[in-house]
């Protein structure tokens, strides 16, 4: 009998308590942070900043240009694809789905190789139609393949968000005699964008991270410049530095998305308690 009584059920709600495991884990992260700072401080010197600081900066700018161009071009391409995904026409729907399935089902790096090396193979043909100047540049090839890739993801986000708007909204707008374009712009999109904002933000973040593969086809983005510097110095701390830059970029973007979300959902949130 005593054995049963000895195992009393745990308290329904445990108070937050600090354990040895927690202290150990935080201490581990603190050590990692200290080591990181020491390593970076050790490898930074005036002559190195002189030699490589500019490269890292232009690499950072190139990464931002690459991602911005890809996401914007991808957004434009995603519009017809999303329209196709929502279309009632079976053939149009299948084509849009096949597009999205191909670009979401294969590695981005393979798509990039397909474009970059494929363009080299068809250089003669591209010269003949006057497009070689575009594909000759690795940066353009990267934007081309990244844009096609992100368009597939963005079209899924957009079509999913539009599908998510309750059917009655469209019907009510149609009953009021609004033009289909006005329904899309004034009724469907504003409601869809609330749902789509966070996935869009995630997609941009994924694009920032994925853009590092451009360095493999000789684009000197942040990763490319870091690889170049590593090949000169064999100093791993430059990769750590690049990691910090990427982390800051991604975290900053995450904060921006949170702020925008707070702003555009302020009409559906419960009022702040006083």
């Amino acid at each position: 009998m005593t054995a049963v009584l000895a195992t009393a059920p745990p308290r329904a709600r445990r108070a937050d308590g600090i354990t040895a495991t927690g202290v150990a884990l935080i201490a581990l992260w603190a050590i990692v942070a200290v080591v990181l700072v020491l390593v970076l401080a050790h490898s930074v010197s005036a002559e190195r900043i002189d030699a490589y600081g500019g490269r890292i900066f232009t690499g950072f700018v190139t990464t931002i240009e690459l991602v911005t161009a890809s996401v914007l071009v991808g957004a434009i391409i995603s519009l017809p694809v999303a329209a196709g995904r929502l279309s009632k026409n079976r053939i149009v729907g299948t084509i849009a789905y096949a597009y999205s399935y191909f670009f979401r089902g294969t590695p981005l790096i393979a798509q990039l190789f397909l474009v970059y090396y494929g363009a080299g193979e068809f250089a003669g043909g591209l010269k003949a139609i006057g497009l070689w100047w575009f594909f000759r540049d690795a940066f353009n090839c990267a934007v081309f393949s990244f844009a096609l890739n992100t368009a597939a993801y963005q079209s899924e986000i957009l079509s999913g968000a539009i599908r998510n708007v309750p059917h009655g909204q469209r019907e009510a707008a149609a009953a009021l005699g609004l033009h289909p374009f006005v329904i899309l712009r004034r009724i469907l999109l504003p409601q869809a964008l609330i749902v789509a904002l966070r996935p869009y933000g995630n997609e941009v973040i994924l694009m920032i991270k994925a853009s590092a593969v451009a360095s493999i086809v000789t684009v000197l983005d942040l990763m490319g410049e870091t690889r170049f510097i590593f090949s000169k110095t064999y100093d791993l701390s430059f990769y750590l530095l690049a990691a910090v830059f990427y982390l800051v970029l991604v975290e900053a973007l995450g904060r921006v998305v949170n702020a925008i979300e707070r702003r555009i959902t302020r009409h559906v949130r419960a009022p702040a308690r006083r």
Partner: protein, 235 residues
């Protein structure tokens, strides 16, 4: 056109067997990464809902880092970092060691997978009613038994859609490991391209193989879903 497909023949004058061998490496790396990432991700998710605020913060730092750094960079850090670490130790012992790209890929992709998987597990945990824990306690189950017998079977069903996306991502991310000379599908294709000068066709074939792999994986996930939802009435 028939010339191009001759390139895919098996044997010494075709690249079919090389591509197939590469695809097998891709599959085995994905399969090897999966348990590492899922188990680690499960524990990180447990950490994120710990009663101890320090453990919660530590787990959050982990995900923030590995979700914020490009997979390629994580891979390089693991590969070159481990290599310099191991060679320092090996030099002291007077021996020579090489870090295999396979292991480095497994660790790096496992780190990335676990940080994403922990988020999926966390939201799945939140989908399980508190009454399930209370009922398990009322039945006299201990905490590990509760997790194993009551929570985990429900967790799989709730987490499966998210995890299946991550699994497809892992399979695509294995292509990055070709950069540190793992002989996976993409690298074998690159070798074949080097010999044949047919990049568009061969990378197209590689993409098609990746697509087939994703389709097979989706099929497998569907089977697991049927199994995990066996106690649920489908409407």
């Amino acid at each position: 056109m028939s010339n191009l497909f001759d390139l895919l023949r098996f044997g010494p004058d075709g690249w079919g067997d090389e591509l197939l061998a590469g695809a097998l490496v891709t599959i085995s790396l994905s399969l090897a990464t999966l348990p590492v990432g899922l188990v680690a991700g499960f524990f990180v998710a447990l950490g994120k809902q710990s009663a101890d605020p320090l453990i919660r913060v530590a787990a959050q730092i982990y995900t923030t880092i590995f979700r914020g750094i490009p997979e390629l960079l994580t891979l390089f850090l693991v590969y070159y970092g481990a290599q310099s670490g191991v060679s320092t130790v090996a030099a002291m012992l007077g021996a020579q060691f090489q870090i295999s790209p396979f292991i480095a890929g497994m660790v790096a992709l496992g780190l990335v997978l676990s940080s994403y998987a922990s988020e999926v597990f966390l939201s799945a945990f939140r989908g399980i009613a508190a009454g399930q824990y209370e009922a398990a306690t009322a039945l006299g189950l201990r905490r590990p038994q509760t997790i194993r017998l009551v929570i985990f079977p429900q967790l799989i069903r709730l987490a499966l859609p998210g995890l299946s996306n991550l699994w497809l991502n892992v399979m695509k991310d294995t292509a990055l490991v070709s950069v540190i000379t793992l002989n996976d599908l993409l690298r074998q294709t690159a070798v074949a391209v080097g010999f044949t000068k047919q990049p568009f066709f061969l990378y197209g074939v590689a993409c098609a193989i990746y697509l087939v792999l994703s389709m097979v994986a989706s099929l497998g996930i569907w089977r697991v879903d049927v199994w995990a939802s066996r106690g649920i009435v489908r409407r």
